[in-house]
Symmetry: C2
Subunit: 471 residues, 2 copies
């Protein structure tokens, strides 16, 4: 019977969904499952989120944290939420230090002149305006640089050319992260005057991958930049032939008095309005591309899913809040939101973030409390036709935007997208709208729509200890 | 019997080849076929050409026509030929007007600021140093621009966003060429003050594809540049929403007193030294990448093939000449060579050029005179195990470097490489050594080696009229 209904609503029109209501007809659980299926199938046909990404990336383009462009994006998000009928729409500012890219020029000066493609790391200090020039020391592995002693790199430019493996879930990025986050300080500790690393990336294009770094307190702050993958390989080949000198000019600036924005709207719960399911994505982007897959796609997915719920004739039991976070790329979004909304934390029953591109969801992880529950089973059954399988390990991290909420006790849920080519594009000039496949984005949106609906309807307390712990 | 021999020599070592001689043992034709097979199989294992491309692209990098880098490349080619034992090694200069890229900045200024990725067209005039700013007119098809009347584009920047189809033999590039070659003058004729076109390309990266343009005499010369594919699509989306203004700064310079170089060497024929088979590729490159697939790969292929012949104990009957041409990208190479070597034209019995990337050869075309000859059949049989089939249409164009020779009556032969992804990389910063698969390059080199050997041994007069015409 359920199968027949599912088949019937495949390709369901939006009009059909407008009349959907969560009112139970048979068993409440069965009814929720049927409604989730209908919402899922309608979301597959819907393009509200996709159109938002198109408008965001086309009319605003890059949205670097703390810039006018990010502010304009926040206004677009606010007006979009209002026009779509969301309630309790808020646009809130919070203080950040903005970092703005300047000139960035890197050239081999010896043995013979060659141009290199680099991107200054977010937060990097500048070189003198005339640049710095020095011999390089190339390390095929980051660990090889760490194995050198203090002073070993005195006066040199350290270059780490370690490659990052291509994997589906992005795990290699986390593993490689110290190369970018700590590398500059580790090089400085050993005497280096600048630091270059092969982009944390899986492509082979002449586009460097941006990303923030973090200077370690007490270490000299040296200029740092990422090389495109082919440039890193070129330096490795050149250095194998003899001494290589590089001239580096980086002129970024920082503004400690900038502000970023959080924008949110709600679909008020019809029965338990004080219980909030929060879903979000970040609105800021790096400055090199137009932030399509990072994280315009996430914005489109959560907005599209929320919009499906908002259009229902009768709203689900709990309140849905959709949040566009600010300044994620500079590490502000999660802590800032949790701090600004500390008083609401007890009311947020579940949080989820979409920030891993525009491809299909392939698995989900739920909080430990959901293990073995009808919620988990219904969610699994509803997502299965989309090619999504359940991972039975509990979700223990939701993402940067909700890290503060999670630390404060909010349970998180995770819908994982195929990231095999995510790090081809991530943080580069290539992150543009043309990279988004509308049908893949719709699959992810459909998964989020069904998940959100079931989370809004269930009476499950996601904060409960895991079933094992309860025994 | 021949099959058995072929099997035995698969993976033949270079040492085995060093003793190869074209001396007939059974029938001359059979012996040539066996030797061609052995050379082919040895070339599959050889990496001489590949190593030359690595050295060329790593130690010199880009080699823009008329620059110091091109001169250094010519010295490298000369010393490589001499060290490898080629005879009659020559490095000859010829005068060109060099064109050197300057600043190139393109930005949308209205409705809101956005950076665009462009590459000035080779030969483009500069904008004033402060740039020009104007509203754009977008044409999805080049023909739509041509359909406008004089004055229709007065004061505007014309933007052509026509896409180029992905095909194996590069035919779409020839068809699209007027967009770049004539577009600036056609736009100027209609009053435009600058011209931008979607790169003649099949990729979707934020890298613009360079390439030369040709101003039409009598038309105003306006600044012209190629947009990266995603930028062209972004402009089309933006323009669909309302007026768009662009600021363009291009500051290229020209030097009418520059020089380029031709470098050549020979394997002197053992029986008919005055009959020359000429194979070549161009040594210059565009400036954005390191000229690996265009045309370092071609350099490696013809050098690798010539080196196989040079190492033979007894040299083949005719003389082999390998030529590294200069300033191909600025349209000088073919005419300049034919002019400088006009007196030799009667002695050049066949010419071939390798200038279509680093992938496998999949078919060949021979001069009309070869149709139905033992030469054609043996060549076909020898290349067949490499996955190469014969095309029975006569070869009527050899390529830019030998266009002058062909016009003067020299027959041409063509080994066609798989170009499905050639225009992803062609003329961009992405044209770097890492894009070359050594095994694919070796297949192409093996095909050239076998072809060249058979052409050196045959008594066929490639200038003969086609068999049809002889009847």
């Amino acid at each position: 019977m359920r199968r027949a209904v599912t088949t019937l609503v495949l390709g369901a029109s939006l009009a059909a969904i407008l009349s959907l209501s969560p009112t139970p007809r048979a068993g409440a659980q069965d009814s929720d499952a049927v409604t989730a299926q209908k919402l899922r199938d309608a979301a597959l046909e819907d393009r509200f989120g996709y159109r938002f990404v198109e408008t965001l990336t086309t009319t605003i383009g890059q949205r670097l944290a703390g810039t006018d462009a990010e502010t304009r994006a926040s206004l677009l998000a606010e007006s979009t939420l209002k026009a779509a009928g969301f309630t309790n729409v808020h646009r809130e500012s919070f203080p950040i230090t903005a970092w703005v890219r300047g000139r960035e020029e890197a050239d081999v000066t010896a043995p013979s002149p060659q141009h290199l493609v680099v991107a200054a790391l977010g937060g990097s200090v500048a070189t003198p305006p005339e640049g710095i020039e020095a011999e390089i020391v190339v390390f095929p592995l980051y660990a090889q640089m760490l194995a050198t002693a203090p002073g070993d790199l005195a006066g040199k430019i350290a270059v780490v050319t370690e490659a990052m493996p291509r994997v589906m879930d992005g795990g290699s990025y986390g593993a490689a992260n110290p190369i970018r986050r700590r590398g500059p300080s580790e090089a400085a500790k050993r005497g280096a005057i600048a630091y270059l690393h092969r982009s944390l990336a899986t492509d082979n294009h002449r586009l460097a991958h941006a990303g923030a770094t973090n200077y370690i307190d007490g270490m000299p702050r040296i200029p740092a930049a990422a090389l495109s993958v082919p440039d890193a390989e070129q330096l490795a080949r050149l250095a194998a032939r003899g001494p290589v000198r590089i001239k580096l000019v980086l002129t970024p600036t920082s503004d400690p008095n900038a502000q970023s924005w959080t924008v949110s709207g709600e679909v008020k719960g019809s029965q338990k309005p004080d219980e909030i399911v929060l879903i979000g994505a970040h609105l800021d982007s790096w400055d090199l591309g137009t932030g399509a897959i990072d994280d315009g796609a996430g914005d489109g997915i959560v907005l599209g899913a929320a919009h499906m719920i908002q259009q229902m004739k009768t709203h689900p039991k709990r309140t849905l809040r959709v949040v566009f976070f600010g300044a994620e790329e500079m590490d502000y979004s999660g802590p800032a939101y949790a701090k600004m909304h500390a008083d609401e934390v007890p009311h947020i029953v579940l949080a989820g973030e979409s920030d891993f591109g525009a491809r299909k969801v392939y698995t989900f992880l739920a909080p430990a409390a959901a293990a073995g529950t009808p919620f988990f089973q219904t969610l699994s059954d509803t997502l299965n036709p989309l090619g999504i399988f359940p991972t039975r390990t509990p979700s223990t991290q939701g993402g940067d935007d909700i890290v503060g909420l999670h630390a404060a006790g909010v349970p998180v849920i995770s819908l994982r997208q195929n990231g095999l080519d995510y790090f081809d594009i991530h943080h580069t000039a290539d992150d543009t709208f043309d990279k988004i496949d509308p049908q893949e984005l719709a699959q992810a949106t459909a998964a989020w729509t069904a998940m959100v609906y079931l989370a809004l309807q269930t009476d499950l307390d996601f904060r409960k200890p895991a079933p094992d712990a309860q025994r």
